[in-house]
Amino acid sequence: MGSKQRWIAVAALLACVLLAFAPPAVAGKKPVKIGVVLPLSGGFEIYGNLGVRGAKMAVAEINAAGGVLDGRPLELIIEDNKTDPKTSVEKAKKLILRDKVVAVMGPVSSAARDAMTPVAVKYKTPLLYGIDYEGGVCNRYVFLYSAIPDHDMDKMVPYMGQKYGKTFYVFGYDYVWPHKMTEAIQRNVDKIGGKVVGVEYTPFGVKDFTPTIQKIAKSGAKVLMLIVPGADGFTFIKQFTEFGLKDKIKIVALASDENYLTALTPQQSEGIFTALPFLASLDKPEAKDFVARQKKMFGNDVVVTWATCSHYGLVMLLKKAIEKAGTDDREKIIDNMGDLTVTVGNGPETMRAKDHHMILNMLIGKFTGGKLVVEKDLGRIVPSDQCKGKDLQ
C-alpha cells in the first residue's frame, strides 16, 4: 500500500468515526425534552414511581401519534431527588441548564416544591406539580395538577356528618398540609353545625399510637379525619384496628389510595373512606381504558392511582400548550397552558389560567373487602381562586 492510499484509508476511517459520533438529530427531528424530578429513593419513592409511570405512558402515546410541532418527539429525562429538597434543586438546575428542558415535572413533598420554585422562576421554566397539597401557591411558573382542601373537604365533611354523626376528631402530621386541611375541616364542620372534639398532630416516625388512640376513643367522636398518609398511617390504622375501634369510629384517611391495599390486610383497611379525583375501580370508560393501558405498558401487577393520572395529565396539558403556542419557547408555552382541558381517567379536567389550579371531578372512595371502591361520585368541583388578593404576574 503506497503512502497516498494509506492516507485515503485513514481519512475514510476518520470519516466513519465522525459519522458514528454525529448527533442522531440528522436521522430524526430534534426531541422536545421534559425534565422529571421525582423521588425514586429516600422515602416517597412510591409516589415518585407512580408519577414516572404516568408521564412515561403519556409520552409514549404522544410519540406514537406523531409527537408535537410537526413530528418532533417528546423525551423524558428522569432524575431522582431522593425525597430531599436540596437534591431537588440540584436536579432541577441540571435539567434546565444542561438538558435545556422545556418544563420540569415534580416533585412530591411540598418542601421540595417550595425549594424548586425559585429555580423555576429564575430560569423562567414551568414547574409542573402533580401531587395533592394544601393550596395557596400563586406563581406564573408553577402549574398544579392537585386536589387541594377545597376539592374534598367541602363535600366529604357534610357526607360523613350526615351519615355517621357530626362529631369529628382530627389527627394529622405536624406540617403545613395537615394544618391547612384541619382549617378546611373545621370550616365545614361549623357549616353543618357539628363539632370538632379534638385536634392532634404527630411527628414523623412515631411507632406507638396508643396514647392518641385512647384519647380518640374517649372523645366521643364519630368520625376520625386521619391526615397521616404513608407508613405512619399504616402503623396507626393497624393499631386502631387492633383495639377494635373501627366499628364505632369511621376513619377518613386523607390521601389514602390503592397503595394501602398492599400494606394493609383487608380487615385492616375495611371501611376506611377517602376522597380522590380518580380511583382505579371507577366504572367509567376512560378510567377502565386508562388502567388497561397502564397494565399493558407496565404489566398486570402495576398499581394505578390518582398520582399516575395527574402526571399523565400534566404531560398532556404540556403537549396541548406546545401545540397551541406553536413553539417550544418556554414563556409562550406558559402563556398557552391556561384554560386547557384534558380527559385522563375521570371526565374532563381543566387547568385554570387565573391561578394555575385544576377543576377536578371528585369521588368518595371506601375500602371494602380488600378493594377500594367508589362510594359516591361528587362530580365537578371548582375550587376557590387560589390567587385571590395576589398577583399571578
Binding site: D80, P85, K86, E90, S110, T117, K122, V176
Partner: protein, 337 residues
C-alpha cells in the same frame, strides 16, 4: 497521576495546593453553566466539611449533629436577610451583616453547647449519640415552628451584593463562593498550625496527659468546637444564598450523616482532604446515582465500611498530609485508640 508525580506533589504540599487552586480558578472557563452551578454548591459543602474536619479530625470529637450548625447558620441568614427578625432591619438586615450575624450566633450556640457537653466530661460514643439526638430535636423544632417556615422551609432569600451590584449570575457566584472556600481554608490552616492547634492535637491524642500538663482540656475543646461550628454556620449561610431556600432537612440527622461520610471518605485529619471528600462524594453521587439508581446507596454503604476499615485516613488523607508528624501521622488519633 503517576507515582513519581504524586511523590513530587507530596514533597511539595504548597505546589499541590496551588495546582488545586488553579484548577478551581480556571474551572468556569470550561464554559458549562451547569457544571459551574454544581461546583458552586459542592464548594459550599466543602466548607461545611472543613468545619467538621476541625472538630472531628483535629480535635477528635465525633459530632453526629454537625448539620445543626450548618442549618442554624442557614436559618439565621434567611430570617435576618428577609427581615423576619423583629428589631433587626435596615443596614443590619443586609446580606453581609446577616452572614456575620449567622456566624456569630452559631459560634455562640456552639460555645454554650460545648460548655454543656465538655464540662460534663461526655466523650466518645456518648458524645456521638447525644449530638445525634440534638440534631433530631433541631429538625423537629424546625418542622414544628411555623414562623420559620415549618416543614416547607423558607424561600426567596435575597442575593448578596458587592459594590452596589447583586451577585446573581452563575460565574460571579462561583468566584464568590470559591474565594470564601479559599479564605476559610487559609484561616483554618493558620489555626491548626498555631500553638493553639498543637494543644488541641495533644488533647485529642491523650486528654489525660494534656490535663496533667496543666491544660484546661475542656476549654480547648470548646474553642475548637466553636470554630468548627462557625465554619459550618458560614457554609449554611452561603448555602442559603446559593440555593435561595432553607428547609428542616438541612438541620437534621440526614445532613449530619452526609457530611460525616464526606469527611471520613476524604480524610478527616487533613482539611483539604475533607474538603475534596465532599466534592468527590457529591460529584460521584450526582453522576453515578442516576446510572446505579438503587445500587448507589448499597455501594456507598459498603465503600464507606471498607474505607473505615482499611483507609482510616481517607482517600486523600495520606496524599495531602502537609505536616505528617504534627497532624497525627500514627494511624489514628484519639478517635481510634
Amino acid at each position: 497521576m503517576s507515582n513519581a508525580a504524586a511523590r513530587t506533589l507530596r514533597a511539595h504540599p504548597l505546589a499541590l495546593q496551588l495546582v488545586i487552586l488553579a484548577g478551581f480558578a480556571l474551572f468556569p472557563l470550561a464554559g458549562d453553566d451547569y457544571l459551574v452551578v454544581e461546583l458552586t454548591q459542592y464548594l459550599v459543602y466543602g466548607i461545611f466539611a472543613m468545619g467538621l474536619s476541625l472538630v472531628w479530625g483535629y480535635a477528635g470529637i465525633l459530632c453526629f449533629g454537625h448539620a445543626v450548625f450548618f442549618g442554624l447558620g442557614a436559618y439565621v441568614m434567611a430570617l435576618v436577610s428577609k427581615g423576619m427578625v423583629p428589631g433587626i432591619g435596615g443596614a443590619l438586615a443586609s446580606g453581609w451583616a446577616a452572614m456575620a450575624l449567622a456566624v456569630a450566633v452559631v459560634a455562640l450556640f456552639a460555645v454554650l453547647l460545648g460548655y454543656f457537653l465538655f464540662y460534663g466530661r461526655l466523650s466518645g460514643p456518648y458524645l456521638g449519640i447525644v449530638t445525634l439526638a440534638i440534631s433530631v430535636i433541631a429538625e423537629r423544632v424546625a418542622i414544628k415552628w411555623y414562623y420559620i417556615g415549618g416543614y416547607n422551609g423558607l424561600t426567596g432569600i435575597p442575593p448578596l451584593s458587592l459594590g452596589g451590584r447583586e451577585i446573581i449570575d452563575i460565574v460571579p457566584m462561583y468566584y464568590l463562593i470559591a474565594s470564601f472556600a479559599v479564605g476559610v481554608y487559609l484561616l483554618c490552616r493558620r489555626i491548626v498550625a498555631s500553638p493553639f492547634g498543637t494543644i488541641v492535637a495533644a488533647v485529642r491524642d491523650n486528654e489525660d496527659r494534656a490535663e496533667f500538663f496543666g491544660y484546661n482540656t475542656a476549654y480547648y475543646k470548646i474553642v475548637i468546637f466553636a470554630v468548627g461550628a462557625a465554619v459550618a454556620g458560614l457554609a449554611g449561610a452561603l448555602f442559603a444564598v446559593v440555593t435561595e431556600f432553607v428547609s428542616p432537612t438541612m438541620i437534621g440527622f440526614g445532613m449530619s450523616t452526609e457530611v460525616l461520610i464526606w469527611v471520613a471518605l476524604g480524610g478527616k485529619e487533613v482539611l483539604l482532604a475533607s474538603f475534596l471528600g465532599a466534592l468527590l462524594v457529591r460529584a460521584m453521587e450526582s453522576f453515578l446515582s442516576d446510572v446505579l439508581t438503587y445500587y448507589w446507596f448499597l455501594i456507598l454503604g459498603l465503600f464507606f465500611v471498607a474505607c473505615v476499615m482499611f483507609f482510616p485516613r481517607g482517600v486523600f488523607g495520606r496524599l495531602l498530609a502537609a505536616r505528617p508528624m504534627a497532624t497525627g501521622a500514627k494511624a489514628g488519633g484519639a478517635g481510634e485508640t
